[in-house]
Symmetry: C2
Subunit: 311 residues, 2 copies
């Protein structure tokens, strides 16, 4: 399996994902030239200060011109607009991909603009942290994470293989699925958890009987685990909610139904029912650790992160 | 502030909290003799293999006899039974405390059994991990965490100060509050987060459209954050739900109300409303980090915990 090499890669959007790509592309030598584009002059300036690429553009088309690989890493609500801006300059044989968390909506927005001869292969690396912006990226972000492609009918297998090899070189495992199934899977593994986290942090923030300073002070007893997801980029998550609406509403209904049943068990003192649920969920974490998708250290390994010796 | 020293400390219950206490008591030299008691012969044997104490008892009263400090670390539903078992042997002047996550219920269960002359001071160290049992404990568990006392009217200030000094020597910060207020605070910072985490993991586990193996494989995109709390001890959490029912039901109602409103905003495409909530919650995490109750490393510092170099 040879390492892929592109003469010119254009990164449209240089936030957490885009800037992590820039870093790993450089480290692995995956491109002759990395063209970085964002409409925000301040963000572009920061990317240049960090030396993330070889050329810097506020004009998206200028970056995409002559690129062999164009990676769009913007909030999903901006996908259509970006596709429209860069489509006219895309060269035949180029691969166009994205990193958006919703695939049905991104395809609907982008596909109509893609010229014949350009390989549009929607993608989604399941990687991220609660930080955003060009400073937040790091080359290891994709390591041992999954990148899911949702190829359209008639996709050139060679182009898909080239893109897969690129993501493997970035450290990812790759997978393909139907866009609709992707959107259902992500609704449960990613979108619902973020929405629930945002909601519980909002609920706590609104209380009068318990002060905000108490919530903060005593957060280590559980609450703080939710604050990481609830610190994620608001623009990105607003767009996800608006662009994967149906799958999210379906998962929210199931969640609320289950919560009502749990609430009833608490109200009526059904200890066995509570014990059964609380035992079953323990096994799920064990499986995730065994699948190499989570650390086994207690408390997510925060102790080590804080530099605290373990007694 | 001198380090407190007790001739004999009895640890009733030797799970995560009890065994962490045993370790820090030894390290800091806080007792002449540590008597360890649990009704489970297997757990007691393990505690002895680990060398956690100086004497080992399946008879709780035997451990508590002549102790200057008795710390009850059992699921809150067993508090009354434990108090009844040890009450007859408690010596005058001894301090009796607990570590339970609910205080109103523990006081109702234990106080009636406490003989005159014994200082019963309910307590709750806000510390823990998702692991349980005597192997899971470590001496650093309480470091920089809060221990909340909910003293009863007429509590001897000297006894409270002695117990506070003990917990400070274990690494904790100490605080006092009314039991009823404690139960409300914990309902939001600890109990609701655990219940929500258990619930979402249960919901995901029940899906048919998305397979269990997909949930596990792609969990790093958000879901896995919930699995830590949902891997907590089922007996402990069943008891918490049953013993802080009213405060938990109140918080669940607020949470569900807020979630219904958020769900409506998603259904009707109210982007500004979503953006406002998602921005507000970001600030909460910042405050928790500033309060020293959370690490600032992305992803809870999992990268470091997994021994992955940062690129």
């Amino acid at each position: 399996m040879s390492t892929p090499h592109f003469d010119r890669i254009a990164l449209i959007g240089i936030g957490l994902i885009g800037s992590s790509l820039a870093r790993v592309i450089r480290r692995e030598g995956l491109a002759g030239h990395v063209a970085i584009a964002t409409r925000s002059p301040a963000t572009l300036k920061r990317a240049e200060e960090l030396g993330l690429g070889d050329s810097y553009h506020t004009d998206l088309a200028e970056a995409a011109r002559d690129a062999d690989l164009v990676i769009v890493s913007v909030p999903v609500g901006s996908s259509g607009e970006v596709a429209q801006a860069i489509a006219p300059v895309l060269k035949p044989g180029a691969i166009l991909t994205d990193v958006g968390s919703t695939k049905g909506s991104v395809i609907a927005q982008m596909a109509p603009h893609v010229p014949a001869g350009v390989h549009f292969i929607p993608g989604h690396p399941l990687a991220g942290t609660e930080k955003s912006g060009p400073d937040a990226g790091f080359a290891e972000l994709f390591r041992n994470r999954w990148c899911i492609f949702t190829p359209l009918p008639g996709t050139d297998p060679a182009a898909l293989e080239t893109l897969s090899a690129f993501w493997r070189a970035c450290g990812s495992n790759v997978d393909t699925m139907d866009p609709d199934h992707h959107d259902k899977v992500l609704a449960i593994v990613s979108h619902l958890p973020h929405i629930i986290a945002y909601n519980i942090v909002g609920t706590a923030d609104d209380l009068q009987t318990v002060t905000k300073s108490e919530v903060i002070k005593y957060s280590a007893s559980g609450f703080r685990d939710f604050t990481r997801l609830a610190a994620s980029d608001p623009t990105m998550w607003r767009d996800v909610c608006l662009h994967n609406r149906d799958a999210i509403l379906e998962m929210l209904s199931r969640f609320s139904e289950d919560l009502a049943s749990l609430q009833r068990a608490i109200r009526w003192g059904e200890g066995d029912k509570l014990f059964d649920l609380f035992s079953r969920t323990r096994a799920v974490r064990r499986s995730i650790i065994e699948a190499g998708q989570e650390v086994d250290a207690p408390d997510f390994g925060r102790q080590q992160a804080a530099g605290q010796p373990k007694g």
